[in-house]
């Protein structure tokens, strides 16, 4: 019951906090849209090669591109309220539909990469802290620092050379075998195999971030009085680290994980493009190449919203980890 109340309090606080941010993002988005060079009509005209001034005006009118800025903002907000992000003349579909078709793939990739990064980061960081200053710590510190310094997409490319080109173990293109008609476990295995390399590439940097953080955080916790209390109970050191230290050490880690979600999604642009992963990130780049800016800004808007939603999840996790949160 108390837990329920704390969760409600956390949700309420987050909602109050997120509202203005969402509005700010929308306005920022609209401003960017105004600053974009030319408009979709220009692009199509250039591509068609033979557009007259009249057909241009007609297209602008059809897409509402001829209105003054403020009324465009008003209609932009009005459309957003109805979940209408506009129509992409280039893809010939509604922007929301285009993005929604890609969203699940990005969420899958992001969650896989994040779980992988957290899991490996926590394990590496804990091992480094447990052997602090001795050789396992020194060796892992070097490995982690290297991971921290390598571009994720390059790690992905090198993994492709090793696992796809040389060993032939894993596929490196798209999110499934094209033209396959797998069902059941074979389908899941096929999807999972396609997920490994992109998730690895996306996670590599964050593995290093979390490992460094967990190490510092675990070392800090060891100095606390309650750790001596736990030892004085005769508990096994492993249990003490797991139950008493890790939970405390994870509190700052979840905070930082929340701050990194935006960067994780940003990284997805490169990784998705590299692996032909049909997600929002690759869509963003396709939109840039097609000069279809309503789609690009739709991606920006929706990924920001995704970050906010993910942050709510992180806040809840935080409240679960730390009983002091959510009680006034």
């Amino acid at each position: 019951m108390r837990m329920g109340r704390r969760i409600a309090a956390t949700l309420r606080r987050t909602a109050i906090h997120a509202g203005p941010t969402v509005l700010g993002i929308i306005v920022l988005d609209f401003l960017f849209l105004q600053l974009m060079p030319g408009d979709a009509a220009d692009v199509m005209a250039i591509e068609a090669g033979s557009a007259t001034a009249e057909t241009m005006a007609m297209m602008r009118e059809r897409f509402g591109l001829d209105q003054p800025v403020l009324s465009q903002l008003a209609s932009f907000l009005g459309h957003l309220a109805q979940l209408d992000l506009g129509y992409s003349p280039r893809f010939n579909a509604s922007v929301l539909d285009i993005i929604m078709a890609r969203l699940p793939n990005t969420v899958l990739l992001m969650l896989t990469a994040l779980s992988f990064a957290l899991l490996l980061g926590i394990v590496l960081g804990s091992v480094m802290a447990a052997w602090a200053g001795r050789w396992p710590d020194r060796v892992l510190s070097v490995v982690v620092l290297l991971l921290y310094s390598m571009p994720g997409f390059w790690v992905g490319l090198m993994a492709v050379v090793l696992f796809s080109v040389k060993l032939g173990w894993l596929p490196n293109d798209s999110n499934m075998t094209i033209g396959s008609d797998f069902t059941g476990w074979a389908l899941i295995a096929d999807r999972a195999a396609h997920l490994v390399l992109p998730a690895l590439a996306l996670a590599s940097f964050f593995v290093a971030v979390y490992a460094r953080l967990v190490r510092a955080s675990m070392l800090e916790v060891q100095r606390q009085d309650f750790m001596r209390t736990a030892h004085a109970k005769g508990l096994h050191p492993f249990l003490i680290q797991l139950r008493h230290a890790l939970r405390n050490a994870l509190i700052p880690v979840t905070t930082v994980a929340g701050m990194h979600l935006g960067n994780l999604l940003g990284g997805a642009v490169v990784v998705e493009t590299l692996f032909g992963w049909p997600g929002m990130g690759r869509l963003a780049l396709e939109a840039v190449l097609a000069r279809d800016f309503s789609v690009l800004l739709g991606v920006l808007l929706l990924s920001s919203l995704l970050v906010i939603v993910a942050n709510v999840a992180i806040d809840l996790l935080h409240a679960w980890l730390d009983p002091r949160i959510g009680e006034a």
């Binding site: 941010t21 620092l145 310094s149 490169v270």
Partner: protein
């Protein structure tokens, strides 16, 4: 893939401290192997960038030999040639410039904006603070890399605009850091003294508080340069680059088509990026140890 948020936990403890005597601090710098190693590697890259034209005169984009020579095939081209017969080593050396320039200028822009916003928010508090922190939150919620791409669609990519775009998207972390410093220093004795002497706000901010707020910002700066270099690499890999300038990320993008038969074309520029970023991270870690002696070392 820029990750600027990472600096927060790393430097959060640095705190403000009366600067110890100069000599002692200098010795602390010289005694710190992490810092020295970082400076040495970074210095090497800076020298390469400065003397690229003397080391490899002529246009590195010119075809000089038969294409796709592997490293070691021809002593004249120790790191081989790419699919257009261009000297990989010469390209790598010239590519140092783009990475370092973008890295330093992007960090400078990000630091300038972040320090201004953070100082104002932390010093004035109240509504200014609330409003500015909202802005910070807004920018932190937006995926940095996407933001950079959007900006580069509005202004075409060239070295200055790339640096500007990265700088404009990477300031929030510094802003938070500086704000926290200002909030704790705002009530410090020496600031109170300056206030009672009737110094102007600007003078108090710039001359009294800022120098004491600097140590964590210095650590943050090196990590910012590192992240800017990583972002620039990702951008040029996606072909969002200055078409007239050689860059490591661009080399990776070009080499990607030969991944099956000549993977060294991808591996080498990536290794160069990793080394440059590593040097900056070493400098950052070293600075953190020196400026924040309490931090782990158990």
């Amino acid at each position: 893939m820029t990750v600027d948020a990472e600096l927060t936990p790393k430097v959060a403890d640095v705190g403000s401290r009366a600067a110890p005597r100069k000599g002692r601090r200098l010795r602390a710098f010289l005694r710190n192997p992490t810092f020295i190693a970082g400076v040495a590697i970074l210095g090497f890259f800076v020298l390469l960038a400065l003397f690229a034209d003397m080391l490899f005169p002529g246009d590195p984009m010119d075809m000089v030999a038969q294409p796709l020579l592997w490293p070691g095939d021809d002593a004249q081209y120790p790191l081989g040639t790419d699919s257009l017969g261009r000297d990989v080593l010469a390209q790598l050396v010239h590519g140092t410039r783009a990475s370092l320039l973008v890295g330093f200028f992007a960090a400078a822009i990000g630091l300038a904006i972040g320090m201004a916003v953070g100082a104002a928010a932390g010093f004035f508090g109240g509504w200014t603070d609330t409003l500015l922190m909202r802005l910070v939150e807004l920018f932190q919620t937006t995926p940095t890399f996407l933001l950079v791409i959007v900006i580069l669609v509005i202004v075409d990519p060239s070295l200055p605009t790339i640096a500007m775009a990265i700088g404009v998207s990477s300031w929030p972390t510094v802003a938070r850091l500086v704000r926290a410093q200002f909030r704790s220093l705002r009530e410090a004795d020496f600031v109170m003294a300056a206030r009672s002497l009737g110094y102007s706000r600007l003078r108090i901010i710039v001359q009294e508080i800022l120098p004491n707020a600097l140590p964590p910002v210095i650590v943050a700066a090196s990590v910012m340069i590192a992240n800017a270099i990583l972002t620039e690499a990702g951008l040029s890999f996606l072909n969002m680059r200055d078409p007239n300038v050689l860059s490591w990320g661009g080399m990776i993008g070009d080499g990607r088509d030969q991944l099956r038969n000549a993977w060294f074309l991808t591996a080498l520029p990536g290794a160069a990026i990793a080394m440059a970023v590593l040097s900056l991270n070493l400098v950052g870690d070293g600075l953190n140890e020196i400026l924040n002696p309490r931090s782990d070392q158990s």
